[in-house]
């Protein structure tokens, strides 16, 4: 009995301490959790999905903002990339406790608008802080409008690009006199270059992620398919309009990448990076964000536009943009809106830091500056922003969405040699049609 009593005394002590500490240290959250408190005035919540190298840069930018605005209590939260981020953002907005500012991919932002989860951005409010449409990348801005109304401020465009090992390409005779890569603007030139790179590297001409990754195969396909002018979906995703001929042409082309050993038929995301970093291939195809990985690996590389194999005069490549949005707020707070716009402007002003991560800045004053042009290899592919081919609209589409997963996994079967182009195309069409036929929840 005595041991029980003393144990109970200990328990009471701990409980009291715990409750006391938690109440003392965070009475505001506890009160708000009980539904009786609100957010502290002058505080700003900002959500993003940037981990890794981007995360480091974002933190830098946030610190700069904090130093310049000590009166604003900025609370930045990083959530896991992809569906978990967007689900949480939606649930928070539905639950009346959204952040003041959030990051969103441009393709996903459209669906958030359709679900009525974003605040419309007033052009006058934006102008008060020096943000005007003419200072933002035209393609990104116009693609972000919904029925002429603005809901997002683009921060960057992050296109699919081509990395190349400068040593191997030099050895293969693919660099011109100024050290730039000769353009690969036809299927023949592409295969020629890959063949020569394969000889020079001793293993592969190029490498691209094929296994356990649906985004990369989709991006490769979309870049080429959009150069041919092909569309995937129409009518807000309700119709599948894949052009049989164009899609088959692209898939057949992709099949040849791996069929003759120019590219490995089995490589996952990390494996492809490792192959390129270790000099096993002359070329690597991925989004520009991997620039930090290869800079850290200290290997001889550069970057340029994804080859314009089919596009001719009209260049096109798969891309998405990171934008800043304001989720629907439970109340109108002028102070918070101003704080949010100040934060957005601060990010735009720090485009240099952000561009160092490989992204093409959407902020025109920086993009057109000499400083950016001097930033190589990042500025090599700046033209990609103008030719950005965003994922088609649809409630099941967007960055990391079911659309990408379905399309990407079918394209991957062609790259890995598991399926013939026509079979993969038929399967993709069937699966996408099933998605398209489902009643939209938004």
């Amino acid at each position: 009995m005595t041991s029980n009593l003393s144990r109970r005394a200990v328990l009471k002590g701990i409980a009291g301490l715990g409750v006391g500490a938690s109440l003392a240290g965070c009475s505001a959250p506890v009160l708000s959790g009980l539904g009786t408190g609100g957010d502290a005035a002058g505080s700003l919540a900002y959500w993003n999905l940037f981990g890794g190298g981007d995360g480091v840069r974002m933190t830098q930018m946030l610190d700069t903002f904090r130093a310049a605005n000590p009166n604003i209590d900025l609370k930045a939260v990083t959530l896991a990339w992809g569906n978990p981020y967007y689900t949480k953002l939606s649930l928070a907005t539905l639950g009346q406790k959204p952040p003041a500012v959030a990051v969103s991919h441009l393709t996903r932002m459209k669906n958030l608008v359709a679900a009525d989860l974003l605040e419309e951005l007033n052009l006058e409010d934006l102008a008060r802080f020096g943000i005007t449409p003419d200072k933002l990348d035209r393609t990104a801005w116009e693609n972000g409008l919904v029925e002429g109304k603005a809901y997002a401020v683009p921060l960057d465009t992050h296109p699919f690009v081509m990395f190349y090992n400068t040593d191997i390409c030099k050895k293969a005779g693919l660099l011109d006199s100024s050290g730039q890569l000769t353009p690969l603007d036809s299927e023949d030139k592409f295969f020629d270059a890959m063949g020569r790179a394969k000889e020079a590297s001793g293993q592969y001409g190029g490498v691209v992620a094929v296994n356990s990754d649906t985004s990369t195969p989709w991006r490769v396909f979309q870049s080429l398919y959009s150069q041919l002018g092909g569309q995937m979906l129409a009518d807000q995703g309700r119709k599948v309009v894949i052009d049989e001929a164009k899609a088959t042409q692209v898939l057949t082309f992709l099949q040849k990448w791996t069929a003759d050993g120019l590219f490995p038929a089995a490589a996952d995301y990390q494996g492809a990076i490792a192959s390129f970093a270790e000099g096993q291939a002359g070329f690597y195809f991925q989004g520009e964000w991997e620039i930090s990985t290869f800079q850290t690996a200290e290997m001889p590389f550069s970057m340029t536009l994804f080859p314009n194999v089919y596009g001719g005069g009209r260049y096109s490549v798969q891309a998405d943009s990171h934008t800043l949005v304001i989720p629907k707020q439970p109340d109108r707070d002028r102070q918070r809106l101003d704080g949010s716009l100040m934060l957005i402007k601060s990010f735009l002003d720090q485009s240099k830091t952000w561009a160092e991560g490989g992204h093409v800045p959407a902020w025109v004053p920086f993009r057109d500056s000499a400083e950016y042009k001097a930033l190589t290899p990042q500025s090599n592919y700046a033209a990609a922003a103008a030719g950005a081919a965003y994922d088609p609209e649809g409630w099941y589409s967007g960055s990391g969405s079911n659309f990408e997963i379905v399309a990407g996994s079918n394209i991957a079967t062609v790259l890995s040699g598991q399926q013939q182009p026509d079979a993969a195309l038929a399967q993709m069409r069937t699966q996408l049609t099933a998605l398209a036929d489902t009643a939209s929840p938004i």
């Binding site: 715990g18 938690s22 240290g25 890794g52 978990p84 539905l94």
Partner: protein
């Protein structure tokens, strides 16, 4: 040959057999103990490894070795300072306390009525509560979310606690216990003029300590560890519970294994402390409910 001659050899043989059996038993027991110790150590490895990693500086964590060259508590400090883990602890504690107290009170009161009182619809209500055991909570997450949305309770502690309080199993545990109490207790009290509330609060409940302990501990632990439901209704990082916070919020710094392991250890500490304090009650609670089946 006397009787004792006949008897003694057998007696000697039996003691020899017993000794052989004994030593065989002992060897077998030692082997059993050895095997068990080995597995127990294996079972301890993950948590010990996490602790080991948490005590390393981040740079050392890429070397997969138990040896720590520069042991430090820095990871814990960083987690406590830079993340909201203390806030999450407060949330978890508040919600678990609300849930536990609510469950014990609501279930014991209902069980008392079902056990001790006669009234119309008693049978029907009993079956209604029984039906609740059949419904796993996870089946209800979609309609419950809509409901919380309608009541404007999203992102509050009530949204997490209120659906967890009406636990049918708790009612049954209490009812079973009350059914076993002698009726004379109440009759004496009623003759002294005590009302139902007095009997419940002053006589029945103090006797029900084992049942209260079992229900309270289960309610506390399952509330603390719940992930799916709080994940849905708590999206404000300020008020997330520890499991939701750990599951949702990433560090913005890329992969820092020491910090991650430190946050895992800190997230585990509260309940491990509860476990160490209440080991016997927890184990008895499980065993008791299990055996009653």
């Amino acid at each position: 040959m006397t009787a004792s001659d006949i008897l003694e050899p057998t007696a000697a043989r039996r003691t020899v057999d017993a000794a052989q059996v004994d030593s065989r038993h002992k060897l077998f027991n030692r082997i059993c103990a050895g095997v068990l110790i080995a597995f127990a150590l294996i079972w301890l490895v993950p948590v010990l490894w996490a602790l080991d990693t948490a005590l390393k500086p981040n740079e050392e964590t890429t070397k997969t070795t138990w040896l720590i060259e520069n042991p430090t508590f820095d990871a814990f400090g960083r987690v406590l300072r830079d993340t909201d883990i203390l806030r999450w602890f407060g949330s978890s504690l508040t919600i678990a306390l609300i849930t536990t107290i609510g469950t014990v009170i609501a279930a014991s009161m209902a069980a008392y009525a079902l056990s001790r009182m006669r009234f119309r619809y008693r049978e029907a209500l009993f079956w209604l509560v029984l039906a609740g055991i059949m419904i796993p909570g996870q089946v209800l997450i979609v309609p419950q979310f809509r409901e919380m949305d309608t009541f404007n309770l999203l992102n509050t502690f009530w949204a997490v606690s209120l659906p967890q309080i009406p636990t049918a199993v708790a009612v049954f545990i209490f009812k079973q216990f009350f059914d076993g109490l002698p009726k004379e207790l109440e009759e004496v009290a009623r003759m002294d003029g005590a009302g139902y509330w007095r009997i419940y609060a002053r006589i029945i409940m103090p006797l029900a300590r084992p049942a209260v302990a079992a229900v309270a501990i289960f309610a506390f632990v399952s509330s603390w560890n719940d992930l799916l439901w709080p994940l849905l209704v708590l999206s404000n990082p300020d008020i997330m519970t520890i499991p939701v916070g750990l599951a949702t919020v990433q560090g913005a710094f890329g992969i820092r294994y020491a910090d991650t392991m430190a946050s895992a250890i800190l997230g585990a500490v509260p309940l491990v402390a509860v476990f160490l304090l209440f080991q016997r009650n927890i184990v008895e609670g499980i065993a008791g409910t299990g055996l009653k089946g």
